[in-house]
């Protein structure tokens, strides 16, 4: 039986879709059978981040409305044969799907996949309710900013109220240079405020923009963000992995490495 994980944040633009793409791809890299579901109906994004936008035939709403079978709507990833995407509909809105339907869909996919990742839309309305309906656990993404942390706190409360037992935090876009000089909250600060278990810290890394431009998740490559996402994946499957050192030598080395790569 597979596990259904919702990736959510409350606030928009903190990196839910990037996280879904990278964690999903990383789990596939680790040999798991994974399906990513874009639940943001009307604002389809996960397909372009995954580089699969040209292969869409059917979408989530088609599946729910019975216009096609689930298998027909699943898009196989370019690189990993055990990774699939169920894209969202672009021309409909959140009301096209309800939580019961999402729960049923999740339960069907559970039979066949190890991990079902739900990419949640921003906000706490219908789209959020749809995305969490079938979920067993949640990854809450936040950045070390007051607005994102406040929204994350609200989301964590709502997840608890909806009896999602296991909630883990990802602190995204951390800038260790700013933390060092005291101009950004550290991941410890955020964890202290939200009182929830940390599953990973992802640095603010230009490589993310590059990888998104190319439609190829960077999880597992030697960039800092790639390593950080891979560590998160290992923790998701239950391995004990120490937190990545985001400052100092490793950062410099990774930067040098990326400079050399660009020149080649």
């Amino acid at each position: 039986m597979g596990e259904v994980i919702v990736i959510t944040s409350g606030k928009g633009g903190v990196g839910k879709t990037t996280t879904t793409a990278n964690v999903g791809t990383g789990l596939a890299k680790l040999g798991k059978k994974v399906v990513l579901i874009d639940t943001d109906i009307g604002l389809r994004n996960l397909d372009v981040v995954m580089g699969l936008e040209n292969r869409i035939v059917y979408n989530l709403v088609d599946v729910v409305e019975g216009n096609c079978r689930i298998k027909q709507a699943l898009i196989k990833d370019k690189r990993y044969p055990n990774l699939y995407l169920l894209p969202s509909a672009q021309t409909r809105d959140k009301t096209a799907v309800n939580p019961e339907q999402m729960k049923k869909l999740a339960d069907e996919l559970r039979e066949e996949f190890d991990y079902i990742l739900m990419d949640c839309p921003a906000g706490i309305e219908q789209g959020f309710k749809n995305a969490i309906a079938g979920a067993d656990s949640a990854l809450v993404v936040t950045t070390p900013e007051v607005s994102a942390v406040r929204d994350a706190d609200r989301i964590i409360g709502l997840l608890e109220a909806n009896e999602i037992k296991s909630t883990h935090l990802i602190v995204n876009r951390l800038r260790s240079d700013m933390v060092k000089r005291g101009d950004m909250m550290s991941s410890d600060d955020v964890v202290e405020i939200l009182a929830v278990d940390l599953i990973g810290v992802v640095p603010d890394d230009e490589n993310i923009v590059v990888s998104t431009n190319q439609g190829e998740p960077l999880v597992g490559n030697d960039s800092l963000a790639g390593q950080a996402y891979m560590n998160i994946c290992r923790r998701v499957i239950g391995e004990q992995v120490p937190l990545l050192d985001l400052s100092g030598k490793s950062g410099l080395l990774a930067k040098l490495a990326s400079i050399f790569k660009k020149n080649n």
Binding site: E145, V146, V149, R150, D153, V179, G182, M184, M185, I193
Partner: protein, 91 residues
């Protein structure tokens, strides 16, 4: 207080953390301004039976305090009630 601590207090990261802690306490308490106003009025009514207070200067807010047990900071209702005059007992 050392110099380091003095600078630490001023850093924007710590300002953010302190502001968040406060705003989340009232977010979590889910206390609307109307309810706070009612609490305030009720407090005024009760205290006024015994002492004369400055209703204008009365200030209540939900904040955090160190608990006396070992469970860290806990939410607290803070009330600052200026007393004008202890009522002289009748008779």
């Amino acid at each position: 207080m050392g110099l380091a601590e003095f600078f630490k207090k001023k850093s924007s990261g710590n300002v953010a953390k302190d502001r968040l802690k406060l705003v989340l306490v009232s977010d979590r308490a889910n206390c609307s301004p109307e309810i706070m106003e009612q609490i305030k009025n009720d407090i005024i009514n009760v205290i006024s039976k015994y002492v004369e207070i400055d209703a204008e200067g009365l200030d209540i807010k939900i904040t955090q305090t160190e608990s006396e047990g070992n469970n860290g900071t806990v939410p607290a209702l803070y009330a600052n009630i200026p007393i004008k005059d202890l009522k002289t007992p009748k008779k």
